[in-house]
Symmetry: C4
């Protein structure tokens, strides 16, 4: 029995070490694509602790609070449970950890979450206006408009709840939290980072298009067909 | 006879190796000039297989699908025929390969094709509005307005057909496909990449100019004279 | 007694050497975040000479005048007293030194000052319009709107006086001097640089949001609660 | 006598070698500050051949035509006389050489000339609208509005003449040639590059300010006093 337990413990340690490596490397994508300044923004990934058990037992690996992008290494990442309690690490977790944890608890298919204040996405969020689907790349990646979530204060469940309720009603992996900024989800942290890059890109392109007139809408049937193809065919299989 | 065949085969191999090298290096220009994010965008070049035969027998070298710019090397590029079938390479070709192949088949003078979703060009495309020729550098490079192509879904010939039909009626090496983004052509891949850089530059400059008023048009005779000089005199001869 | 004096002098020298190092390194953050071009912009830090005495006796370390960002090293930084007289260094101090010195003299809790002409903050300053608090990150960092200071010519106390009078009536660590640009303050130079990065970020985001409509305001009680939490809880403690 | 001639020739050679080095290095500033794409833009510097003779005998060092920024070295720079004839170098000179030469011939105090198509300056030029002096840094550097020059075709003296006539009536070291882009001058190539960086910076800042209202003007007497101070006091003396 103790052999099994040892093996189990070793698996969890390996998965956490792996996630520390990956989450640390993915943070570099945020400044690279111009999504964050100073210490803003964070990426997390779920670590499945007990594949047969409830997902509430899982862990997450996330950036520590208020630390610059130059200082990020696998070792400085922190590990929390899904109640946002620190499980492993020398530093305080990101102040957005509770929102990430809420998403993992309530959306079991989500393996990665990203939060930024990227400029154009946040500009739509400040007006509480969804980004209309006027680009084929939006149809591909988001399957329609990018929705707006409620205004919510940090400190309790309200940000996490706002994210989950908004995304449940949408194909979009991105939500614009009002007056705040985008949160994105994905099957893993890489997919959530890709969605964070793409939400800023399409928020920017549609904004610029609308500055000089009205972008032409894409028919719903065309959006559906683009989304279906992209989700099933694109990339290396 | 077999000696001639061997020599012929060796020539094709050398041309393909050369094109792999060149197309891989040119992809680095797309993120360098801010034209793409994540894995978006692609560059291709025609390889002439049988100079005496019909151009439909030619090959093209293009980026694989859904691969990041950091992973691109001459070896990861893929080779397709002009029916967009994979001829050589370990990965699935870009999902835009059929559009590139259609252009090579129907425009025999074209040796390079580039596709991006660069922001300002795509913003004009989302309004289906041509970029008016209000800059001497537009007259030089594009010989007039930058035209808009039709809305077209991926999956059959309609994107390729839209590109070819629009460019046949224009001196411009760039077309803005509606709600989608720019495609550019050139005598080789380098010229098509230059056109991709320039179409974003002029789309951006004319956009910004129009934000605060109406850019002054350039007389058609001045456009013609600038275009004629630039195409014949500029550069190293 | 002379031993005490020697020790005192050694302390001052060590503090100055330390500040030269820090101020030189922090200047690199200004071009990194796109806040300055050519030789514009400057960062300073206070050096406390006599902790028991009046703060007017303190020194400040600042960038020399008209020197490019590539040439900055700890050795090229200059040391001035709070009357803006050169105390140590081979070069003329920044022409904004008098404004920095005025701030240190009249705001004893300030340990760092930064001045830039960052684009979006300066654009609001040219209209003499405060940036309205429409983002949770503005509530966090600035505790409300970012205020505008008076038009003031260089050459006497008027810039310094304008900064101090405007900031005394505000929680904001940033002031937009009319037709000129932002000045920011902090407990040390790092905090002032962070405020310089953040003022440009929020000036840009609110500007972009307002281009297509009116950003939704945040209730004053929500601003107060976000500000209180952020100032007390955020980061590593 | 031949000794004197040898010494004279050696002086000219040294001055040309020096200018090749400097002009090549300064070209790197154009992409660094985002002023150019691909092969656009050029920097030149005057070489005084005979200090006692007429300035029409001077030489100029400039970028070759259509060569990318990665390929620029002191050796690839070309030397022309002030009739724009190639005097030394393996490549064809920039197609803007005649305009540079005209400026050196007619403005003897000018030692450097820069031409770019930088985005915001060119956007004002496309509307033929001067940039109004609404920033203290504009008063410092340009002493007032940035003027617009006439529309002119390449191929004869008309661009050079338009630059010279416009700048003779202004304190500004920058002119926006209509539908074309900015030309800047300075006592040497470094000063002209600085003016090229600053003209884009102020064109961009005033553009952005005007997007949401009207920037407040600065009184002429304040502009005069800022300009006088900056030209005489700023920097290291």
């Amino acid at each position: 029995m103790s052999t099994t337990l040892d093996a189990y413990a070793a698996d969890v340690r390996a998965a956490v070490a792996d996630a520390r490596e990956k989450v640390s490397a993915l943070h570099a994508e945020l400044p690279r694509w111009g999504l964050v300044v100073w210490t803003a923004g964070n990426v997390s990934q779920r670590v499945v602790v007990d594949p047969a058990g409830p997902s509430e037992r899982d862990l997450l690996v996330i950036k520590p609070s208020g630390v610059t992008y130059d200082e990020l290494t696998p070792e400085t990442m922190v590990v929390c449970d899904l109640q946002a309690n620190l499980v492993d690490g020398d530093r305080a977790p990101s102040s957005d950890t509770a929102a990430h944890a809420y998403v993992y608890t309530h959306l079991p298919h989500v393996g990665g979450v990203v939060h930024t204040h990227s400029t154009y996405a946040t500009a739509w969020a400040a007006r509480a206006e969804p980004v209309p689907c006027a680009l084929t790349m939006m149809a591909d990646e988001f399957g329609g408009d990018i929705p707006v979530g409620p205004f919510a204060l940090i400190g309790d469940d309200s940000i996490g709840r706002g994210i989950v309720e908004t995304l449940r009603g949408s194909r979009s992996p991105a939500v614009l939290m009002r007056n705040h900024g985008p949160f994105t989800i994905g099957k893993d942290a890489t997919a959530a980072v890709k969605a964070a890059v793409m939400v800023e890109e399409v928020a920017r392109t549609v904004h610029i298009s609308r500055q000089l007139g009205e972008p032409l809408p894409i028919a719903q049937s065309d959006i559906d067909s683009l989304y279906a193809r992209y989700q099933n065919v694109y990339g290396q299989h």
